[in-house]
């Protein structure tokens, strides 16, 4: 049952939704022209809901079921190049199967938006969350945002279109969220009105690059060594510019939809004066924040830093946020076999961000919650305590059956 909100509100209603429902709702609100699909859990949740919208006449869009994830992402890419607003998505091995297409969508600078419902890379067959799928594209030229609640999933999807399609950016954006826990838990979500979203998100316009009979262009020609480096530099500059666009998009989003995002990139819970800070992303943030507040009441100077936009990496924001911390721990829902110190992926980025910073906190890494294993309050508390303890090892596996 939908609860009707006050009249004239920018919200249409409040409804109980899963994370995938919330993303599907956002895709409807941005009025996509092309929705490409290939089933894999949890993306099927978005497929189901969008199919219903189209069947009910609530959304007018091409719904194309591809013969695999690679084709699905190609369809999205091509739709985007002709000026159609498109949405695609996958998870785990499906995301990897689309990898070639994912790479060129970024180098073609097409503002496609994709959901990656983080899922362990089979084998063994597992549906639960691991962040390796999304992190595998972190260097390819995609903007990557991590949602940790269903509401945030809806908000982040809307913002992703706004930033990706901005004429100064034009980069694809991935909205990552934890498969299983976030995609399949039901929470109350505020759904904006179509009109309010239309005001927030201008029509998609690819400008001179739009492939159209009236504007004949050929996309992605062979260029070899004469052009590639310059193009890479353009891509890098766009990525830098996206930071500013993210700030202005969030500012406006807060204004229009009364949300309270302090910073697009990071979310701090008692970080400012904390000695010990845990860093993480995704649904583990919910538990980590709750424990941080609890321990603060006990007089322990701990804080939690959630990373929302992982690409572009919030180097300055993180340096500033951690400028007073003595101990930093990272919750990693991913693995990096053979990486320095046996740590996982986000430790490498965080440590290199801190290397040239004024403050050099001790950094430890926690590999936890792989394949969807729960990260409990007890375990998070243990991570805070181990981070504060100078004698704890550099890397620890938490919640592992020895």
């Amino acid at each position: 049952m939908a609860v009707k909100m006050e009249t004239k509100s920018v919200f249409d209603r409040e409804e109980l939704m899963t994370g995938t429902d919330a993303v599907a709702e956002a895709v409807k609100l941005v009025d996509v022209d092309v929705f490409a699909a290939y089933p894999i859990r949890p993306y099927t949740g978005v497929m189901d809901r969008l199919a219903k919208f189209i069947a009910n006449g609530e959304l007018d869009a091409e719904y194309i079921v591809a013969d695999g994830e690679h084709s699905q992402f190609e369809i999205g890419k091509h739709a985007s190049s002709v000026g159609a607003r498109a949405f695609v998505g996958s998870s785990g091995t499906g995301w990897l199967y689309a990898m070639e297409s994912i790479g060129v969508t970024a180098t073609d600078r097409l503002p496609l938006v994709a959901l990656v419902g983080n899922r362990a890379l089979d084998d063994p067959g597992a549906f639960g969350v691991e962040h390796n799928d999304a992190l595998l594209v972190r260097d390819l030229g995609w903007l990557i945002g991590w949602a940790s609640t269903a509401q945030e999933a809806l908000d982040t999807t809307l913002i992703a279109y706004r930033v990706a399609e901005d004429p100064t950016v034009r980069m694809p954006a991935a909205v990552a969220m934890d498969g299983g826990y976030l995609t399949h838990s039901q929470h109350m979500v505020r759904v904006p009105t179509k009109e309010a979203v239309r005001d927030f998100l201008p029509a998609y316009d690819l400008g001179n690059r739009r492939m159209h009979p009236d504007n004949p262009v050929s996309i992605a020609p062979q260029v070899n060594e004469d052009w590639v480096m310059e193009m890479r530099r353009q891509n890098y500059e766009a990525s830098k510019r996206s930071r500013k666009v993210l700030y202005s998009a969030y500012e406006e989003y807060n204004e229009v939809f009364h949300s309270e995002y302090d910073n697009p990139f990071i979310e701090e819970t008692n970080v400012e004066d904390a000695d010990t800070v845990l860093v993480g992303m995704g649904s583990a943030s919910v538990v980590a924040r709750s424990v941080a507040r609890e321990m603060r009441k006990e007089g322990k100077k701990v804080g939690f830093l959630k990373i929302r936009w992982y690409r572009p990496y919030p180097t300055d924001e993180i340096r500033k946020a951690l400028s007073n911390a003595s101990n930093v721990g990272i919750i990693e829902r991913n693995f990096a076999m053979g990486a320095p110190d046996g740590g996982a992926i986000t430790m490498q980025d965080l440590q290199s961000a801190l290397y040239d910073a004024k403050n050099h906190p001790r950094v430890v890494d926690f590999i936890a919650g792989l394949g969807g294993r729960e990260i409990s309050k007890t375990e998070v508390r243990k991570m805070y305590e181990m981070t504060a303890d100078k004698k704890s090892p550099k890397v620890s596996w938490i919640g592992l059956r020895e």
């Binding site: 049952m1 109980l16 084998d123 549906f127 639960g128 826990y181 039901q186 109350m188 919910v286 059956r401």
Partner: protein
């Protein structure tokens, strides 16, 4: 925090379970309380009849984030104050996946918690199938058959709103019956539905299950090994080929039996069997074991109760599907028959009674029951 677990049968009751857990969240929200819900992720994609679980978490004072943290942001539940069972045949145990064993239905219920079971049976019949606990808990029975309302298309039989009414009785901290009735009538714009919720509230019978009441759980509960205790790589041992004539003569997977999927089991009258082989031939789960004399034993541990054998059996009354809760064990019927044929047939007819059940999940109407006057008398000697 109050944790609710809704146990239901995959696909058949999926939408029903979603309605129940979702409505709890809406009611809490309406009352200014906090709640959210989720389901056991590993149940998906649901197969027909497999035991599945949905959860709702409720709190009067915690924020949503603290409630989620308290629930460990987990896709399964460790303990529950309220355990709801919408199909009473599930009290025989649950086997959700391979390697987990067959688990008791009341495994999660906490001390002084409540098991709310939709059933037309007496408390003693249900307790006789459940594991004994070393503490007291409550057993609430809401009259009703296992609803098939939750198929792809929701065929409404009001089980969802009735369960909400029953929750108001057993866990009034969540919502009073007036709140539930008010919510239901607003949601559906239906006074009948609100009345159905109130009726269930009145009808539900609550008793206390004392510590030690119930059975010693007959199935082992597997303990998962640590990372040093199993081989590298991704593989599980297969089942070696093995066959000999007679009961339990075929090798089968000991780690995944699926027998808990069944709500009914085939009862065989060996004395009137014509040895046509159709049951053995058609069984999708290969649970029939050939014997040297041409009769087929049933391995109930692996039988999912699909009813195919009863459907193809050409002999009237030879294979009949019977309510699973009438049986205490999975013993071989052929062995029992050989021990004392006449006694076996008498026992089988007692179990069969005069009712013949025909499940009709597709129409959402539940079981069709036909009455039979008398069964075929015992036939001496073996059919050649």
């Amino acid at each position: 925090m109050i944790r609710l677990e809704v146990n239901y049968r995959g696909i058949f009751q999926k939408t029903l379970a979603y309605h129940i857990s979702g409505d709890i969240v809406y009611i809490a929200h309406k009352e200014g309380k906090t709640a959210f819900s989720n389901g056991r992720y590993s149940d998906d994609p649901q197969r027909n009849g497999i035991p599945c679980a949905n959860f709702a978490y409720f709190s009067k004072d915690l924020s949503e984030e603290d409630l989620e943290a308290e629930a460990s942001a987990s896709m399964d539940i460790k303990e529950a104050e309220v355990v709801i069972v919408v199909d009473d045949t599930m009290v025989k145990g649950l086997e959700p996946w391979g390697g987990y064993g067959i688990r008791p239905i009341n495994e999660k219920v906490v001390k002084n918690g409540v098991m709310l079971i939709v059933s037309n049976r007496k408390p003693a019949d249900l307790i006789a199938q459940m594991e004994k606990k070393n503490y007291d808990y409550r057993l609430a029975i809401m009259p009703g058959e296992a609803s098939f309302a939750g198929l792809w298309y929701f065929k409404d039989d009001m089980t969802d709103v009735r369960v909400l009414g029953a929750i108001a009785k057993v866990a009034p901290e969540i919502a009073s019956i007036d709140t539930v009735a008010d919510y239901v009538s607003t949601k559906y714009k239906s006074k009948e539905k609100a009345a159905a919720a109130r009726k269930a509230y009145d009808e539900v019978k609550v008793s206390t299950v004392k510590a030690g009441e119930g059975i010693v759980w007959p199935y082992p509960k597997p303990v998962l090994p640590g990372w040093k205790s199993f081989d590298d790589g991704v593989y599980v041992k297969g089942v070696k080929r093995g066959f000999q004539m007679g009961p339990r003569g075929q090798n089968r997977n000991p780690d995944f039996k699926r027998g808990t999927s069944k709500t009914q089991r085939p009862v065989v009258r060996f004395d009137i069997c014509t040895k046509c082989t159709l049951c053995w031939y058609d069984c999708p789960d290969e649970v029939f074991d050939p014997t040297t004399e041409g009769l087929y034993d049933v391995n109930y541990e692996y039988c999912t109760g699909c009813g195919r054998c009863a459907e193809v059996c050409p002999v009237e009354d030879c294979i009949v599907m019977v309510d699973e809760l009438k049986f205490e064990n999975q013993d071989s019927p052929y062995v029992l028959y050989k021990k004392d044929p006449e006694k076996y047939v008498k026992w089988a007819e007692e179990k069969k009674g005069h009712e013949r059940l025909m499940p009709s999940p597709v129409t959402g109407k539940g079981n069709t029951v036909t009455k039979v006057e008398a069964s075929k008398p015992f036939k001496k000697g073996v059919v050649k």
